[in-house]
Symmetry: C2
Subunit: 222 residues, 2 copies
């Protein structure tokens, strides 16, 4: 492994946005990216600033082709939206107004997702070493039947804001970087994050749950 | 030029979807793709089956960072949506109910787009040879300050439906193929289309306008 250099031997920072050539080049040479094109097809922006979990869920569920609720505007097709995600089952647990006000914790998002045709594994980052965390993330990012949503603190990445959810779309083994598809698309482009930095951004305490952030692994039931 | 073979020398059809390995590989080896990541970031699904023009416009305008109307839900950020695209100026020309019922012609979409901070060139495909058309499209797809929206007949591509708008995101010179970001995302993934086929799908008559389809080239005014 020879990290920190691009194909042109230019040092690469721990976070590289895809609106620069280096970020684009990293994708072309990334070795683990079976999720990317389905995520690209289903990638949406959070509709409210606190809807990062909902937007990540919708992106991941559509990307896995999980059966979606009715979608009258495009009948007979069906697709998850940030509106129809709130089915009766979801509403029984949590309403849009609560998410608009407070966002979601990792556990809350997991509970909502588990009401659809996916199994949801909740992984707290503080229970894993950097290497264990990488192994789990790479395994999931490389499996076409799984999707990963990370819950991290933006401040660790030098970004404005605090707790945030977004899906991962690829891994570049040589650079040890994950491609993060930021659902606050009006704010930031997708970016590559070096794994130890991503891990440290997940080993932070969510003040709402008073426990560690981490990530969700969704597995299609079909 | 050695068309019709993949890097593994497997023959490539005239249309290749990105949900297969060949489609993904084409992207990694495509030589002209400066628009891709900004389009990926702004790529949206049409909200109604007749909103392909509006969804393509919103994707292209956000991708060019054209100043957007107010967006209360994400204040102070601003982004084009398929709702706020209908500003007073646009509504004076055309209302959502009309687009929902009838969609747009190439000229109507151009008029609406010209009400924002972009210059809009309208190109009718029947006025161009295959080579002239390629030259114009490649020039625009390779220019970071431009975006291309094509107006084509789906039937020529072997797809269900008829007239449709979507942005182009890349060109693969060796294969002579464009990457089409289909905004009916619930229906089809992005796909690579060989240029002569794309040209023939644009040299078709739109029964609403009774003139040839074609494409729009948007240029940022900033």
């Amino acid at each position: 492994m020879q990290p920190n250099t691009s194909p042109q031997n230019v040092p690469i920072a721990d976070i590289v946005y895809t609106n620069c050539q280096q970020g684009a080049d990293l994708f072309d040479h990334a070795d683990i990216k079976p999720h990317f094109w389905s995520l690209c097809r289903s990638f949406v922006s959070e509709e409210f600033m606190t809807y990062c979990g909902i937007a990540s869920a919708v992106t991941a569920l559509n990307s896995l082709c999980v059966p979606a609720p009715d979608s009258p505007q495009i009948y007979p097709y069906k697709v998850f939206t940030q509106d129809n995600f709130f089915t009766d089952d979801v509403l029984h647990f949590r309403r849009p107004i609560e998410v608009e006000k407070h966002g979601n914790t990792l556990a809350q998002l997991a509970t909502m997702l588990s009401l659809f045709a996916v199994t949801v594994d909740v992984i707290k980052a503080d229970e894993l070493s950097v290497d264990e965390c990488r192994m789990l993330l790479v395994g999931a990012v490389g499996d076409p039947s799984k999707r990963v949503i990370v819950d991290f603190d933006r401040r660790c990445l030098g970004q404005k804001g605090h707790g945030h959810f977004s899906p991962l779309a690829a891994f570049h083994s040589q650079e040890d970087m994950f491609l993060l598809m930021d659902v606050a698309r009006y704010k930031l482009p997708p970016c590559w994050v070096r794994h130890p930095l991503l891990h440290s951004s997940m080993v932070t305490v969510d003040s709402s749950s008073e426990t560690s952030r981490g990530f969700l692994v969704l597995t299609s039931k079909e």
